[in-house]
Symmetry: C2
Subunit: 176 residues, 2 copies
């Protein structure tokens, strides 16, 4: 029986110089590529997001539109906002996104994890989550939570997330 | 068949004057009592919490102790922190607590809902949650979420919370 090491399909790239990487994507950026592929991807919490581009990305995954002014305020009050770009010297394209809220001390909650469907299945979501967990760990957060839609429950389970610890359930309340 | 109206056991009190209420518990306080009972309870997001008293309350519900300095920082970064006191002119006693994190725009998450076991079963938790949802609605939040422990799932269900909408599951990740 052969176990395919999923992480082996991803490797760090040396194509972009550190100077260029930091200049375009900021100091806390992380770039990677897939083995034998040419496309380079970069995660960053520093590079500013174009809100129109973000809105378009979220629409590719079928989410209902939210007023851009409210989204901007929500990002301002998030404790971590991460973009995932397909690298291009002139026109980096936003292909993934996620953000976290929380008290920044005891806990954080991950929201709005999205990868453009064209780029799904390449391991990008996994790299994005790894980047987020590392950043949260850096600020000392020991418990991270999220609400996983039914179709991505397996995705989080594979990556070591505990589902419904001790029988807990997620509960939602919508303002009328 | 008789349906007991649970909310009928709670009523607003007129025992405390508004001036006194606001002076002790702040402008956004809400006081109530149970029918035919003498004890008065007050919810408030304004009255400052004594962290030692909060620590003792959380211990009565069996939660593991957390360093008080970290708790203080977590409260500072929460978007809503609510105490529930048993009214006493001189020595109000903290008997309930809850707090919310979130971006304060699109969503909020309720954490650490606790009622001292001595005062459980009196409808206090329900009043505390009503107070929180009202405050969140006031700042325009339309979606509130929480992770319900197995033993309080029924409590939230009774109050109209949607459990695991569309098959979503809660996922937890703990820093190693």
């Amino acid at each position: 029986m052969i176990f395919r090491n999923q992480s082996s399909s991803i490797k760090k790239t040396n194509v972009i110089s550190k100077d260029e990487l930091y200049k375009i994507y900021g100091l806390n950026s992380y770039e990677f590529t897939q083995k034998n592929k040419e496309e380079i991807f970069v995660c960053s919490k520093d590079k500013e997001l174009d809100l129109i581009e973000l809105d378009q990305l979220l629409q590719t995954v079928g989410w209902s539109r939210r007023p851009i002014r409210r989204v901007k305020r929500a990002l301002d009050f998030s404790i971590l906002v991460v973009g995932l770009w397909k690298y291009d010297k002139k026109f980096p394209r936003l292909v993934g996104f996620a953000r976290c809220t929380g008290d920044g001390v005891l806990e954080a909650t991950v929201w709005d994890v999205a990868v453009n469907p064209v780029y799904q299945g390449l391991g990008l979501g996994k790299e994005l989550m790894k980047y987020i967990l590392k950043e949260l760990k850096n600020i000392g957060i020991s418990k991270v939570t999220l609400f996983a839609d039914a179709d991505v429950v397996a995705f989080y389970k594979r990556q070591g997330w505990t589902l419904e610890p001790k029988g807990s359930k997620c509960a939602f309340w919508y303002a009328s």
